[in-house]
Symmetry: C2
Subunit: 78 residues, 2 copies
């Protein structure tokens, strides 16, 4: 069974680069990658915070949050 990976972003240039290079580089045979734009899906900010996301872009993999460079603080997305 594939693991779920969620890539949270806010459409910023730093986010787009991380999505293109890191999120898209994950092994598709092992991970189902969901891309979530928190600026458009504000209802999911709470879910991201619960997973430990403090800034975007961030990748939640295996239940742990990995912040990739820095685009925006999650508080700016509320």
């Amino acid at each position: 069974m594939k693991a779920k990976a969620v890539f949270y972003h806010a459409g910023c240039p730093v986010c787009v680069a991380a999505e293109q290079h890191v999120a898209n580089a994950l092994d598709p045979s092992r991970y189902d990658v969901e891309i979530v734009h928190l600026g458009e899906a504000r209802s999911r900010v709470e879910e991201a915070e619960a997973a430990g996301v403090k800034s975007v872009p961030a990748l939640v993999l295996d239940g742990a949050a990995f912040h990739i460079n820095f685009g925006a603080d999650i508080s700016a997305l509320k």
Copy 2:
């Protein structure tokens, strides 16, 4: 041809988590991932800096540096 990905770390707990979850999640059919411990291979600090790495753990993919969470500043490894 596979692209080269270099994961730079310094053995810190934040680094180990990023290695286990992010570096190991990359698609092996598209990326050859090299793991470099900058604490043990100090001669490669300069190469990491040239690639834009400012802190570890970091992943250099397609020529761009992606800092994953924060373990240590690269200046601490010189």
